[in-house]
Amino acid sequence: MTAILRLENIHKSFGGVQALKGVDFELYPREIHAVVGENGAGKSTLIKIISGVYSPDVGKIIFENREVTIENPRIAQALGIATVYQEPNLYPDLSVLENLFSGRFLKRGFLLDWEEMRQRAKEVLSLLAVDLVLQAPLKRLSRAQTQLVQIARALLARARVLILDEATAALSPEETKRLFEILEKLRNQGVGIIYISHRLEEIFRLADRVTVLRDGEVVGRTKVRDISVNRLVQLMVGREIRDLYPRTPRTPGRTLLEVRNLSRRGVFEEITFEVKEGEIVALAGLVGSGRSEVARAIYGLDARDKGQVFLEGQQIPPRPWNALRAGLILLPEDRTRQGGILSFPISWNIGFSIIDYLRNRWWTIDERREHSLAKEMIQLLDVRPPKPELTLGSLSGGNQQKVVLGRCLLVHPKVLILDEPTQGVDVGAKAEIHRLMDRLVGEGMGILLVSSDLPEVLGMADRILVLHRGRLVAHLPRGSSPEDIIKAATGLAEAPHVR
């Protein structure tokens, strides 16, 4: 059987940084081929080369025994390569039907043939066993549905190669299961699928083969059934990760954060819980259960209809600046869009939350103090390169996250809310952040951890609060099983309301 797609000796660098070094890759029809690696390992660059966003500096791409140059995404699509992204690049204001065919409208002569398009769309959607209103605007669809639209698009384009990049990040377990069923069906029909994910459980469930990238090189390629999880992680990281979830057992102290009856119509209701000194409380649940919304509402960034938030007994009026003053801060989910200002230097970013307090006599900013505080934080968090005057945008993702974390820590919060702190972060940095979390609570902080990474929740939390459709349905202790959490998260176990 010949490979649909073969990459030979691919080299790609960006301004002096070597992203891919001599990478070989092949994809056969009827296979799901996973690509794994830490952040910065080159996965994203690899698929961008395949989908035409980048061109390799050196190397050949062979598609069905023909050498091709994929200069732009349009050519990739014409060849039959379709990519499904986490953030779909479609048209929110236009109808589902139009999105399915945009760029590839079916015409009758000069005019658009809507009737034919509707026909074909219905066929494909029934193949996927999906029910969508063709006339509805795309912005009304859920993330999962939008992804299905992307897949339907690929099918309509008769894709031979389907690439999925972190496709399940925003999906519930049910939706993930359905997606996998569809992918398996497609594979059986002869499509070659490249699957990229940080979630190793998915790789083992879904993929036939796996290629491991590390620092831009291929360090392993095997059939999935011939390798173990630990060995896979070892290959990815290059060393044994002894302890990804370092926790020292402690007894919690006094109550720091108290949330009472927090409600916002249609999003969450009657959220009540506390976080004590020295403990990590996790907020778990499916996508759409309202975790991030609750977190942002506690911080005061989003509105609430009713409820109160107390820090050390004092009520905090709902606005972020009030929260900061009381000693509560939130580390946002999206570090580039919500966390830091890319064109500001590192020192400005680190000092930004407390900028009003870094003042001189004459109402000016005390730049010297800002600089020294930044240097301290850089050292504490091991930010690389350790130069406060560099712009945030010139750092890698993991280091940017550290800078944003530094900004939060400079507030000297008593309670820290972390929203997906290790999402899209490589295994090494993940362990570092977890170690830091343990240290912080050891020094008396309380942490509220919002996370969709089940192993992380199980490994790091002292108590686990589970949200289901905006209601707190379970309150589980450390040592609970994944099934306990999933049952609660999917609403199968309505536990009596415990605080």
């Binding site: 910065g40 660059t45 972020p320 919500q338 064109s343 930004f352 109402w363 900013i365 507030v411």
Partner: protein, 321 residues
């Protein structure tokens, strides 16, 4: 991006200013005389005050098209109040208050109702100008006490009163922008408004204050204008938004916000003022002056684009890989 700092764009700007002066000198021999040049600040201060406020607004990624209309409204209020018997200082106060209130209306729509600044100020421009016309029914308000005219037509030493006024305002604004937390927040909002909110700052309040300030500055400009021309009419200030925005953009502030500064605006202001002044001396129609300013605006933005992209490429801003 750092705040006010002498860099490449300021050097280019200086060259443009020089070029403009030479060009205007060609148009009219009177241009380069000391009497004329000293008078230049007079014409430039009204727009200048507005341009200073506009700089801050554009830095946050916003825009205010209603400034000219607020000038007209404030002028009409001044005239109407005085005519109704309110003592002049009170009428002036009234005009300033109206300006701030009008600006705060913009602020409310843009900051709290989250309306796009372009369309919001396009609408309020119509509302304020309409109010000015409606209140005045098209008439002019004249006859003010002599002391009032010293504001617009008097001197401080050899300099027109406008010079210390504009210079003082520029210094205050430059200080505010580059040295204070408030100024830092302005740059932050222009670069990444969401991140600024997450960092715990009251972005809405900052924007609200900036638009209210702009309204107040427009009203101040109106007072100066009335004092200079001895008349208050509803169509005062027409076209000021163009001049102000041109000065700001010429001065190196990016229209999408995040980079730029006050001193660039001042230089841009001098260019705009020189063009207007030089052309007036050469008896060139105001409409044609508009044409020149329009061309200057487009040239300025183009140059900005070109040099801005060169600068970014040199810095090698990294995108996630």
């Amino acid at each position: 991006m750092r705040g006010a700092r002498i860099g490449l764009s300021e050097a280019i700007l200086g060259t443009i200013l020089l070029f403009t002066f030479l060009l205007m000198a060609q148009l009219s021999p009177q241009f380069l005389t000391s009497t004329n040049l000293l008078q230049l600040p007079r014409f430039v201060t009204e727009v200048g005050l507005i341009a200073l406020g506009m700089t801050l607004i554009i830095l946050t990624g916003g825009i205010d098209l209603s400034v000219g209309a607020i000038v007209g409204l404030a002028a009409v209020v001044l005239g109407a109040l005085y005519e109704a018997g309110v003592p002049l200082p009170g009428a002036i106060m009234g005009a300033l208050v109206v300006g701030v209130v009008a600006g705060s209306m913009n602020g409310f729509l843009i900051a709290y109702l989250r309306m796009p600044p372009l369309i919001a100020t396009l609408a309020t421009m119509a509302i304020f100008r309409g109010l000015a016309f409606g209140i005045s029914q098209g008439r002019a308000y004249r006859d003010y006490p002599d002391w009032f005219y010293t504001l617009g037509q008097g001197y401080v030493g050899p300099f027109p009163t406008q010079v210390p006024l504009l210079l003082g305002a520029a210094i205050v604004f430059a200080f505010l922008l580059s040295k204070t937390p408030f100024g830092r927040k302005i740059y932050a909002i222009g670069n990444n408004e969401t991140a600024t909110r997450f960092a715990g700052h009251d972005v809405d309040q900052v924007k609200f204050l900036l638009y209210s300030l702009s309204g107040g500055l427009s009203a101040m400009a109106a007072v100066l204008l009335v004092s200079r021309f001895s008349t208050a009419k509803a169509d005062l200030g027409q076209g000021f938004e163009l001049d102000a925005i041109t000065a700001v953009v010429l001065g190196g502030t990016s229209i999408s916000g995040g980079t730029g500064g006050v001193w660039g605006t001042v230089l841009g202001l001098l260019v705009v003022g020189a063009i207007r002044n030089g052309m007036t001396l050469a008896f060139i129609n105001t409409d044609i002056q508009q044409m020149a300013i329009g061309a200057a605006l487009i040239t300025a933005v183009t140059l900005n684009q070109v040099f801005g992209s060169l600068r970014l490429r040199r810095k090698g801003v990294r995108t996630t890989g």
